[in-house]
Every structure is written in structure tokens, then in C-alpha cells.
């Protein structure tokens, strides 16, 4: 599903040039649950953004679902992103002005799904996350864990094949964190590919494979045998 070759990302500002990623070679198969770990500033989020087609690499190749995309335009990337990739963020990134239902509905709206179908899909997604009873609430009325469940519902509502999670438990206490990790693991079992950036070894235990990044390159890749369920 994901295949990178000599991926490089360089940030240039007025006075410094920072190499965020350096020669990253990765292969992630469909159906995998993969955690990316490493200290702050090692390039985890950059890698995730590139995988999520939010950003282009400076050099190297990136194949997503068999397509070379490192030279694709923003418009084409957005097109490929829609419906294929779901995002879960540390700070949830729900839109404050929209209700739970409307937040989850958003990706379907942009996909041009019909009203009735949207209603059905949103309800299924919210049901799965056990958030139906909160459908008309605004994000600020929810706890952190609940907000993250809404975010996951939003990431999955369009049947995304890949979910990219950037520290999904970073803003949650451990109980709520576990809850979220279990939901992600369940999704993975049903076939969704998950790539997750985390600081927490505990969370990383849910993944089948852990990739360690340091200073922009992959240091180790371990397959985990007895991973959490």
C-alpha cells in the first residue's frame, strides 16, 4: 500500500535548512498496523504528512496504492486523499462550530455523497464509536476521549483504507487512551491499514510493527510477536 524510496524532506527557511527526512525507505502492506516512534523533531509527523498526501517530499519516490505521487499536483493529491485516507490528530481537530454529526458528515459532503446515504453512513460510524447519543452536541461539550472517538468516526466514515493517526492518545488520560487504541485495533482487524505516530511504548504495543526514526532516518524496524489485543 505504501512504498517509499530514498524519501527526503528538507525545510528551508530564511536562515536555516533543516533536513526532516533523509533517505527513508519503507514498505507498508495493506492491513498492517504500524507505529512510528522516535524523539521529538525526528521527522515522524513529516513522514506521516507525506504518507497522508498532505505534503510532497523534496526528493525520492512515494508510491501510494501503486501510484507514484511525489510529482502530483495538490489537486490530484486531494482527489486521491478523498475517501482513501482518514486522519486522527492529537488535538482531535474537530470544527468547533459544527455539531458531532456535521463534523463526521464533512468528508462525505466533500465526496459528493447523497443526503440519505450520508445520514446512514454517519449514523453507522457514530454507532460504531458509541457516540450516537451525542450527535447533536458541539465538540466543546464533549470530553477529550469522546472528541477523539468522534474524530475516529470522521476518519472512518468514508471507508478509508488507510488511517493515519498522529499521537491519537497524546491529549488523553490513560483510560481514554486505551479506549481509543482498542478502537483503532478493532478497525485494523476489520482490514483498515493503520499508521500511527506515538511517543508511548504502551500504545506502540498495539501495533504489529514499530518503526524507529532518528534524525530523519529509519533506525530499526521490529515486528512485534506478542502484540496487544
Amino acid at each position: 500500500m505504501i512504498n517509499t524510496k530514498n524519501l527526503k524532506k528538507i525545510y528551508i527557511t530564511e536562515d536555516v535548512e533543516t533536513t526532516a527526512l533523509n533517505n527513508v525507505n519503507l514498505e507498508i502492506e495493506a492491513g498492517e498496523f504500524c507505529a512510528i516512534m522516535g524523539p521529538s523533531g525526528c521527522g515522524k509527523s513529516t513522514l506521516l504528512n507525506i504518507m497522508g498526501l498532505l505534503d510532497n517530499p523534496s526528493e525520492g519516490e512515494y508510491h501510494f496504492m501503486g501510484e507514484e505521487i511525489s510529482d502530483k499536483s495538490e489537486r490530484d493529491r486531494a482527489q486521491l486523499r478523498k475517501g482513501n485516507i482518514g486522519f486522527v490528530f492529537q488535538s482531535f481537530n474537530l470544527i468547533d462550530e459544527l455539531t458531532v454529526f456535521e463534523n463526521v458528515e464533512l468528508p462525505l459532503l466533500y465526496l459528493g455523497v447523497s443526503t440519505s446515504e450520508r445520514k446512514e453512513k454517519v449514523e453507522t460510524a457514530l454507532d460504531r464509536m458509541n457516540m450516537m447519543h451525542r450527535r447533536n452536541h458541539f465538540p466543546q461539550q464533549l470530553s477529550g476521549g469522546q472528541q477523539q472517538r468522534v474524530a475516529i468516526a470522521r476518519a472512518t466514515v468514508a471507508d478509508a483504507k488507510l488511517i493515519l493517526a498522529d499521537e491519537p492518545t497524546g491529549n488523553l488520560d490513560s483510560d481514554h487512551g486505551d479506549e481509543v487504541m482498542k478502537l483503532l485495533a478493532e478497525l485494523n482487524e476489520k482490514g483498515t491499514t493503520i499508521v500511527m505516530v506515538t511517543h508511548s511504548p504502551h500504545d506502540a504495543d498495539y501495533a504489529r510493527r514499530v518503526i524507529h526514526l532518528f534524525d530523519g532516518h529509519v533506525v530499526t524496524e521490529n515486528m512485534q510477536e506478542g502484540f496487544h489485543v
Binding site: L54, A78, F87, F89, N93, I95, D96, L106, P107, Y110
Partner: protein
């Protein structure tokens, strides 16, 4: 403390250069409009104030109950003996003077001039303040042969020589001796002149000196200190009745009211109208208000960003008053920076504005301490008003909430902001609608058929009797040039027939006493043909039919035929009795607009008068106009020693609508400025909103929103506000423009298209403004906005 406020104010100013720029520029443009219009209004209000006794000086005018002439029955002129009588009968009258217009052909050492001046009774210089540089004001007008010149005319006549005591000869061989010199008459005087001759030198005046039935002179009086004008006015009817056989009602006009409040017959020259002063004041305030709204909007928007700072300051121990002072000092900084920019802009634009209002405002107002104090005061108040809302709002928050980020509910704030935007667009749309209506009415005036030809017609104003005597030879000489198609003489020009008579007794009128007021002009043989007036029935005057001159022949217009109760088909051949004596109707001409579009077409009669006239009209070929004019003036100089004054009829016509044209231009310019300010404000706000919503835009983009989606999202809200502004603007503009159009007898209909055009324009401008910012926001990489988390 103050230093700290100012320091912080400067830093905040520098931190957001974009907003600060929009703020200052918007406010500066608003202030600069305000300064210019205020300068203009001060100028208009300053008329005749230079006279030292202005507050006690009045003009005596009268109303003739039954005589409506050119739309009003009030007249500015009075009988010649009034000055003497009023002086004698009223002890409260300190001084009185009589003036009249004069036009003199004069020669100095063989050089001929035609100059305009006044006649005045000897007390002229006791009533009006025109200081004499040379000569004695008490005696300058004592002798019938004296003349007081302005400096410029003296220079024109005598060059650098000392003019005092020099002799000027008029065309009737009278000699005038220069007895005084004055400076130029100030522009803000309601009458102007280049010389003053004693009333006793004018035959017409002398003839009428004891005649109460003729009015032709302006009478001014100065009351003693403390005397009451209303009390004097109350005594006027009794006073007049002992002298005058007429039932005219005399009353007083304060000297300083004449320029803006007097629009009556026989004014010395056309006055302005206070209505337009109110209108301009309204526009000035509106534009300033728009600029203030901008400032407030941006400041409120920015204050959201600063809630954390406010919380922190509160925690540290700032009192609310201190915080308010801080915010206000920031708004003062912006306002006064804007003021300096505005003064600079005004310096640049005032000459342009001078041309626009044809007033010599110059830059002198900017140097007057009173005027500057007022402008500073207004800026201070503007800063106080526009700065207070953000100041009070931002400092009202509880420090705990404010520290938490303060981002919570922005409802009330955005509601107020929206309201202000709606107001701004409503005001702009009102101005746009007014501009369009005024423009359409002006072009209606320009293009609508007046019923006579006015293209390429040169009119010569004739004052020299010599020309009347030799008109046939002149005509022949002029028509030798093929560029002159036709020539005709007349007593009046078709665009302004300002003589009225009364028809008494006509066929079919049951009552021999019945009167019909009717406008009248004497015309030469070729007048109606030259002006291409359509003859509906009968025939034109003809030199071949001797009875046209000897037995009285009349042409009537349609309105006159109707007013006489006749039928157009049978009018020809009927008899009536008017100015030129008993006569017969020989033809009926189609109605043409002989006054202005402000007035309905009135009854008119024309009679044949080939040898007495005041105008010669020449229809020219459109090519070589300047050369033809040269030829005409040369030819005329062969017949008269004095220069002939000429003008093209369409220029004269435009001059008739000068006020309207000027109004159109001014409203047009200020509409553009208002739109620009509204656009600036919107630009700032959209930028701000886009910034506020960066995170949301990022999320939406990650979820698959396209650029179009985002632009739509950001634009929709603002466009709704513009639409609401439109709804508010339409009835107000409709009402205002109906009021304006009510002054026209002939006018356009305000069509819905005008409103749609204005609305569409506002929407387009708003859309352009909004989309530029929202496209920028939509194109930003979502990663940047989400990374900060």
C-alpha cells in the same frame, strides 16, 4: 504610564503592519473627505461675512402675490426711492444703500473695453466693507462723474500708471474720473463687480428716482446696534402702503443668508442652495462614519487576539481603567497618524476639489487655527468613539477566562461586526444608487429633446446700438462665409425666455378682464427656422408680409393655445392683445423647453421685432469652429468699436445645470471613495476571519475540501451581509432620490434596474475583495495550520 501606553501602542502598530495600514489609510481617506467638504462648507457659510456690519445688514426684497415668474413670486429688486424713504422713516436704520448692475462700454486713450460693474448710492462704502486703497470712501461716489475701480481693472485700463484722477470715456460720451481704488471683491461675496459708479450717473436710475412702480435695484440697510429686524419688518407693510401703489409684500433678508437661502427672481447672480450644503455635510459625515466603522471593526477583531494579553495584565494588577486608557491611546495613535496623512492627502487633493466645486478654497483653511482646531477635535472624537468599543469590550472579560485563551464565544462581537459591515455596505449602496440616479437624470437633461436645436449655435450678446442699426449689413457680411449657415436676431434665447406679459382679452374669453400671464419674446424673421422649431399650424413670420410688423402677428406655443382655451386646429387667425398690441395668431409652434427641466413648459408667444434685439444667433458648420468664431468677431469689429461677447448655446445650456453637474461629480467621487473604504474594511475583516479560521480551513482541506469549497465557505457569510445592506439601502436611496427628482418637472423614472445595478456592483466589489483573501487562505498548505498543535 502614558509613555508605556504609547510604547505599547507603537509596538502593536508595528506588529500588524497590514491591519495598521488598512486602518490608517481608511481613516485618512475618510478624514480627508471630511476636511475637504468641511472646508467647502465653511467657504459657503462664509459668504458676505467679511462685511464688518454683516450681522446687522439686511436686503429688502418683496413678494408680488399674483405674479409668478420663473417659478416664484419673490423678487430681489426694489424701487429706487426705497433707500431714501426707509432711511427717513425708521430711526433704527443706521445706513442704507442702493446698488444696481451696470455694463459699460468704455474707452481709455482710444482703447475700447466692455466691463461689468455696479451703480451704487454714495453710502455704499458705509454699508459694505470694501476698503479703499486710494480715495475717500465718504466722497468717492459723491459726484456723478466719479468711478471707483478694482485694482485689477485699474491695471487693465491704465497699466502701471497711477489711475487716480484719470479719465474714462463711456460710449455715450460721458466722462468718469477715477476717484478711488479697491482690492478685488472677495469670491465669497454674493455680488461682484469690477467698478462702482454713482447711481446718479445712470440715466435709468435717475429717471426712476421717485418712481415706486418700477423695481430694478437692490436695497440694503444696516440696523443700529440692538435694533430688531423682525420688529422693523412688521412695520414695513404700513410704511410701503404710504408710498407704493402696488400690493407687494416687502420683507428683510439677512445679508449672510442671501447666498444659501435666497433663490428668487432677479438675484444679482445665481445663489447656492442650503439643501446642497446639507447634502454635502451628510456625505462628509457618511464617509467619515464608514472610515470609523472600519477602524472599529478591525480593532474589535484584533482585540480578540489580545484577550490573553488583557488577562495577563489584569492578573499582574492592571485596573480596568488603565487597560481602557491603553486601548484608547492606541486608537488615538492610529487616528492622529491618519489625520496627518489626511492633511497631506487634502493638500494634494484640494486643488482638484477646488476645480470640482469651482470655489477658491485653496489651502488657506488648513492654516486657520479655528478650522484646524475643529478638525483636531473631530479626529479626537472619532478616535474616542471608534476606540471605546474595543477598549471596553476587551477589558470586560474575567481574567481567568481571558487567560484561558479567551477564544470562547465570539457571538456578540461578531454580531456587532456584522452589523457594522451591513451599515457600511448600506451606506455605500445608497451612495451608488444616488450616483446612478443623478447620472441618469443629468444625461437625460443632456440628451432629451428640448424642442430646439442647440448644436453649433454661436450666440452674440448685443449691447451696442450701432449693431442694431446695421444688422442687415452685418447679416449679409456674415452669411458670405459658407461656414455660417444661418443668422437670426432675437430679444431672448430659446433656453431662457425670461420676460413675461399678460394677455388681456382674447377670442372666446367670456370675461374681458380675464388675464393670462404669458412668456414673450421678440424675434427676427429667421429665428424659428434657425432653431429648427417645429411649426404645427400656420406659418412663420415673414419679411415679405408687411402686416407681420405693422399690424401685430403672434406665434403661440401649444401650451399657450391650451391655456387660452383654444384648439390647435383653429387657433390660427384668432385675435389677441398682448405686449406688441392687438394682433392675430399666424402660427402655432410645438412646445419647446424655454426655461429648464425644473419647470413645466409655460405659455409662450413670439412677435416679430426685426430691428430691436439683444442676441444674434448664428448656426455654424461643425467644422473649423475656432476659425469661424475668429471670422465672426473680426466681422463684428468692423461694425462696432466694442468687443462682442459670444458663447455657444450648448455651453450656456450646460451652465444652466451647473449645480446639478457639480453635484453629480461630487457624489460620484465620494461614492468611489466610500466604496474604497468599505472595500478596505472588508479586506481587513476577511483577512482576519480567514486567519481566525485557519485551523478550520486546514481540517476541511485535509478532509477533502477543494479551494472552491473553501472560498465559498468564506465568501458566503460576507455576501449575505452585503445583501442585507442592499435591502436597507434601497428604500432610503429611493426616498432620497425621489426628493431630489421632485425639483424637476421633466425627469427619469427610478427603475428597478438602477437598484439591481447598484446591488450587483456592491456585490461584485465585495466578492472580489473577499475572494482574493479567501483564495489565499484556501491555497495555504493545511499542514502549516495544523502543525502548530
Amino acid at each position: 504610564m502614558l509613555q508605556n501606553y504609547i510604547k505599547i501602542a507603537f509596538r502593536n502598530f508595528r506588529k500588524n503592519p497590514g491591519y495598521s495600514f488598512i486602518n490608517v489609510l481608511g481613516l485618512a481617506i475618510g478624514l480627508s473627505c471630511f476636511i475637504m467638504i468641511t472646508a467647502y462648507i465653511s467657504y459657503e457659510l462664509s459668504f458676505d461675512q467679511f462685511n464688518e456690519k454683516a450681522d446687522r445688514t439686511y436686503r429688502v426684497v418683496h413678494q408680488q402675490p399674483d405674479n409668478f415668474f420663473l417659478g416664484t413670486n419673490h423678487f430681489a429688486v426694489t424701487p429706487a426711492p426705497l433707500e431714501k424713504a426707509i432711511r427717513a422713516d425708521f430711526s433704527e436704520v443706521e445706513e442704507a444703500t442702493t446698488i444696481g448692475k451696470r455694463s459699460l462700454f468704455m474707452s481709455v486713450d482710444g482703447r475700447a473695453f466692455h466691463e461689468k460693474g455696479i451703480i451704487a448710492s454714495p453710502s455704499f462704502f458705509d454699508v459694505f466693507t470694501f476698503p479703499l486703497r486710494d480715495g475717500n470712501p465718504k466722497t468717492a461716489l459723491a459726484s456723478p462723474s466719479s468711478i471707483v475701480l478694482t485694482k485689477d481693472l485699474a491695471k487693465k485700463l491704465f497699466g502701471d500708471e497711477d489711475p487716480m484722477g484719470k479719465t474714462i470715456t463711456s460710449n455715450d460720451d460721458k466722462e468718469f474720473r477715477v476717484s478711488g481704488l479697491i482690492e478685488e471683491v472677495p469670491e465669497n461675496s454674493h455680488f461682484s463687480f469690477d467698478y462702482v459708479t454713482p447711481a446718479s450717473s445712470d440715466e435709468n436710475y435717475v429717471r426712476n428716482k421717485e418712481e415706486w412702480r418700477n423695481s430694478g435695484w437692490y436695497t440694503y440697510i444696516v440696523l443700529k446696534e440692538g435694533a430688531d429686524a423682525t420688529q422693523l419688518q412688521a412695520k414695513l407693510p404700513e410704511f410701503i402702503s404710504t408710498y407704493s401703489p402696488n400690493n407687494y409684500k416687502y420683507y428683510l433678508q439677512a445679508l449672510t443668508d442671501i447666498h444659501l437661502h435666497s433663490q428668487i427672481n432677479s438675484e444679482f447672480s445665481a445663489n447656492n442652495n442650503i439643501k446642497y450644503i446639507y447634502l454635502f455635510a451628510g456625505i462628509a459625515l457618511l464617509v467619515l462614519l464608514l472610515a470609523m466603522i472600519n477602524y472599529m471593526n478591525l480593532a474589535v477583531a484584533q482585540s480578540i487576539r489580545r484577550t490573553k494579553e488583557v488577562g495577563l495584565r489584569k492578573v499582574i494588577g492592571a485596573k480596568r481603567g488603565q487597560l481602557i486608557a491603553q486601548f484608547l491611546s492606541e486608537s488615538m495613535l492610529v487616528a492622529f497618524l491618519a489625520l496627518f496623512l489626511a492633511l497631506f492627502l487634502s493638500e494634494l487633493a484640494l486643488p482638484l476639489f477646488d476645480g470640482l466645486v469651482e470655489g477658491p478654497l485653496g489651502l488657506s483653511y488648513l492654516q486657520e487655527p479655528q478650522f484646524m482646531a475643529m478638525i483636531f477635535g473631530c479626529t479626537f472624537i472619532a478616535a474616542l468613539i471608534s476606540g471605546s468599543y474595543p477598549a471596553f469590550f476587551a477589558t470586560r472579560l474575567q481574567p481567568r477566562k481571558a487567560l484561558k485563551g479567551g477564544q470562547e464565544k465570539g457571538r456578540t462581537r461578531s454580531n456587532l461586526r456584522n452589523l457594522l459591515i451591513v451599515g457600511q455596505f448600506a451606506a455605500s449602496i445608497i451612495l451608488v444608487i444616488c450616483s446612478i440616479v443623478i447620472y441618469q437624470q443629468l444625461s437625460y437633461i443632456q440628451t432629451t429633446e428640448m424642442g430646439y436645436d442647440r448644436e453649433h449655435i454661436l450666440t452674440l450678446s448685443i449691447q451696442d446700438d450701432e449693431i442694431e442699426r446695421q444688422i442687415n449689413a452685418i447679416r449679409q457680411e456674415l452669411l458670405k462665409d459658407p461656414r455660417i449657415i444661418a443668422a437670426a436676431t432675437s430679444d431672448q434665447l430659446p433656453n431662457n425666455i425670461a420676460a413675461q406679459t399678460v394677455i388681456q382679452g382674447w377670442e372666446g374669453s367670456g370675461d374681458p378682464e380675464q388675464e393670462l400671464p404669458i412668456y414673450i419674446t421678440g424675434v427676427g424673421n429667421h429665428f424659428t427656422e434657425l432653431y429648427d422649431m417645429e411649426l404645427l399650424r400656420g406659418r412663420n413670420f415673414s419679411s415679405k408680409i408687411s402686416s407681420d410688423t405693422t399690424q401685430g402677428a403672434y406665434l403661440l406655443n401649444e401650451t399657450a393655445v391650451k391655456a387660452l382655451g383654444w384648439n390647435i386646429d383653429t387657433a390660427v387667425g384668432k385675435s389677441l392683445s398682448a405686449w406688441a398690441g392687438d394682433g392675430t395668431v399666424v402660427g402655432v409652434v410645438k412646445d419647446f423647453n424655454m426655461h429648464s427641466v425644473h419647470m413645466q413648459i409655460q405659455p409662450l408667444t413670439m412677435y416679430l421685432e426685426p430691428s430691436r434685439f439683444r442676441f444674434v444667433s448664428l448656426k455654424l458648420q461643425p467644422t473649423d469652429l475656432p476659425e469661424t468664431v475668429d471670422f465672426v468677431t473680426e466681422t463684428m469689429s468692423d461694425f462696432s468699436n466694442y468687443p462682442v461677447s459670444y458663447s455657444f448655446l450648448d455651453d450656456v445650456f450646460d451652465q444652466q445645470y451647473k449645480t446639478e453637474n457639480r453635484l453629480g461629480e461630487i457624489v460620484g467621487y465620494f461614492t468611489l471613495l466610500a466604496l474604497f473604504i468599505a472595500m478596505l474594511g472588508l479586506l481587513g475583516l476577511v483577512a482576519y476571519t480567514a486567519e481566525q479560521r485557519t485551523k478550520e480551513i486546514g481540517i476541511r482541506k485535509v478532509l477533502g475540501a477543494t479551494v472552491t469549497n473553501i472560498v465559498g465557505l468564506l465568501s458566503k457569510d460576507f455576501l449575505k451581509l452585503v445583501a442585507l445592506g442592499f435591502v436597507i439601502a434601497v428604500p432610503i436611496a429611493w426616498y432620497a432620490m425621489n426628493q431630489w427628482l421632485a425639483d424637476f418637472a421633466y425627469k427619469i423614472e427610478i427603475s428597478p434596474g438602477i437598484f439591481l445595478l447598484a446591488g450587483g456592483l456592491a456585490l461584485l466589489i465585495a466578492l472580489a475583495t473577499v475572494s482574493w483573501q479567501s483564495i489565499r487562505a484556501a491555497l495555504a498548505n493545511p499542514v502549516d495550520s495544523l502543525r502548530s498543535e
